[in-house]
Symmetry: C2
Subunit: 371 residues, 2 copies
């Protein structure tokens, strides 16, 4: 058995490839839209991606599961638990196999068991992984947004981000019960979570890539509470405001996301960018806030390219109209930003302008200002 971990820093999100080298087959768990990375890793390890799954309907990025299954010919495995509102509406069209609590699948010699762990979301699945040629019990679990290192997934997102009124407390109670039930697994179980620090899907996520069930039971706040009431109170307290784009992600990911956008946005001239600004288009200046404050074009939004870039972009940028980038340092940076935006479904990049060409905006009639 072989495990590869893929951590996307901008999304603070983790996906995994687990493979049986003997049979030459692999499962990808929680792929994001950068699907090429899984295909390349599988190729390097001489295995074929035959299974694609996800722990739940993600709210914080566009899922790459459908696209990855389509491009590799792999079978999709999607949760069918949690009630009518939380179904994958594209499951039938893709011939996906539906998962309920206890569903088992074999990826070569790697045995996967789905465990229904509602709380963060009603349909959430955790996947136990057993290396069946050498062991009779699981080595680890892909816990998605159920158990993180030092934290658990937040149960308030449906209510706060998706508007499922009155679900916050009942989700917290479900989460507590899921944790109680999961505690029965052995201490040595490796916990492979869906997020690292910086994700808005939990509030106190640790910076370690993974943990173990026994360690979490001893030191995570979620196991140190005495009662369900105390858990409910604590898990709902102090959760940050969810980013505005989360509700849209949920919709895209249950409807079935299409393939990612174009990787290379067109370079446009200062005169063309000026006319876009004058036409009221959405133009993002990606330079650091200090550069923007010193001097910028009126009509441009500043979203500095730091670790919060996607959170702000998802909250401020439209999904259904072209977006323009300016202040990029190089074509490579423009391409990288377009790829990052595509992770949250912003695929329509109409053009990009280098920082060095921005002085050309003034002669083209764009007023420069400072804050």
């Amino acid at each position: 058995m072989l495990l590869k971990r893929f951590f996307d820093e901008k999304l603070a999100q983790t996906s995994y490839l687990v493979a049986c080298q003997h049979a030459g087959v692999a499962l990808v768990v929680d792929p994001n839209r950068n699907t090429a990375q899984y295909v390349e890793a599988a190729k390097a390890e001489n295995v074929r991606i035959t299974h694609v799954t996800e722990t739940h309907i993600h709210a914080d990025f566009v899922s790459g599961a459908r696209e990855l299954a389509q491009t590799t010919g792999a079978r999709l495995y999607l949760s069918d638990s949690g009630g009518a509102e939380w179904k994958y509406r594209y499951a039938a069209a893709e011939g996906a196999e539906l998962l309920t609590d206890g569903t088992r699948l074999l990826v070569g010699d790697v045995a996967i068991e789905a465990v229904h762990t509602p709380g963060h979301t009603p349909e959430h699945m955790t996947f136990l992984v057993t290396d069946s040629p050498t062991a009779s019990t699981p080595m680890g679990a892909f816990t998605g947004d159920f158990i993180f290192v030092g934290d658990v997934g937040r149960p308030d997102l449906l209510e706060r981000a998706v508007g499922a009124a009155g679900t916050m407390e009942s989700s917290a109670r479900n989460l507590f019960r899921s944790l109680k039930a999961f505690s029965a697994y052995p201490d040595y179980l490796q916990i492979w979570p869906g997020h690292g620090p910086g994700s808005a899907c939990g509030k106190a996520l640790g910076a370690m890539p993974q943990s173990t069930l026994g360690y979490e039971k001893l030191f995570s706040w979620a196991w140190l509470v005495a009662t369900e009431e105390e858990f409910v109170e604590k898990v709902l307290a102090g959760q940050p405001e969810p980013p505005a784009y989360f509700s849209r992600m949920k919709q895209i990911n249950s409807d079935g996301p299409g393939p990612g956008g174009s990787a290379r946005p067109p370079s446009i001239s200062a005169a063309e960018m000026a006319s876009r600004i004058q036409g009221g288009e959405t133009v993002v200046d990606v330079r650091p806030a200090s550069d923007f404050a010193a001097s910028h074009s009126r009509g441009a939004i500043n979203i500095p390219r730091n670790r919060s870039f996607l959170t702000w972009a998802g909250s401020l940028l439209p999904y259904d109209r072209d977006v323009y980038l300016m202040g990029i340092a190089s074509d490579e940076e423009g391409v990288a930003i377009a790829r990052e935006l595509s992770l949250i479904g912003i695929d329509r990049i109409g053009g990009m302008l280098h920082a060095g060409e921005m002085p050309g905006l003034a002669p083209a009639g764009i007023e420069t200002t400072s804050t």
Copy 2:
């Protein structure tokens, strides 16, 4: 606390950076000669490398510990256990702090405890890691070549590779006792080993990046034996012949390795390469075996650039004379090969010739042949 894992595929070797973000400091464990990777990772995480250590005197690659400490100004921590023959002879010159069983150090809020675990080598240390602000007991251990995933370090290397006659069985007994003593730690302890599959430092290393103590105790052959006698017999059976360069690595790493060689070997002409071959220099043709078989220059050695490249290179190439590369696909490949060879101390690359220029060898007087 933050953990970064660095896996070198060519060496099948793992090193780690563990940091306290709060204090902005980091420890690197078992660095190889590609020291830039640790410096870059530390920079990206906004921490400074202040501590450098290694689990033992490595036999399979040149240690980067001394160079990394020198370039970063970090303190070196080196084992002082295991007897007079297994000392770091450069420890005093570098002002290294010496480690014995039970030595504790603090890397910001990360507490490290050295545990003497002889067996693979007499001076071997395992490092327990405690995230002291959030936990009172260790989360994991850097086990080096003591415990691997599904295997343990081989205790026969000193005798077979270094010529320490009669040590094989006593080392195996020491290893068994180290395992027994280490078994007292909790099941949930994460095991962060020094090698992955493909290393000659164990025989049955799994492909998973890490394990837990509880899982190893249940499923690793090393814990499933009934007695010390059975362990000694099994651990010594079926060990592969150690690569010929291991004894030289041990010597370099205890004497104190110098900095790595030049990163960019000179490109030379076919006529120059021809004169090197005629002068009896060591010339390595790095093309696949099938290409070499079809047609090659007499006097060149074929070491195809695959996963066994360094094992063969370490066995066949001299350390004290220039080595020449031919059959490279590009300058980048030549540079990459030079870096790989430097990992095992082969630093003197006299020149390199592209595959496309090899037809020029014949007019320069080099006979072409096929096997």
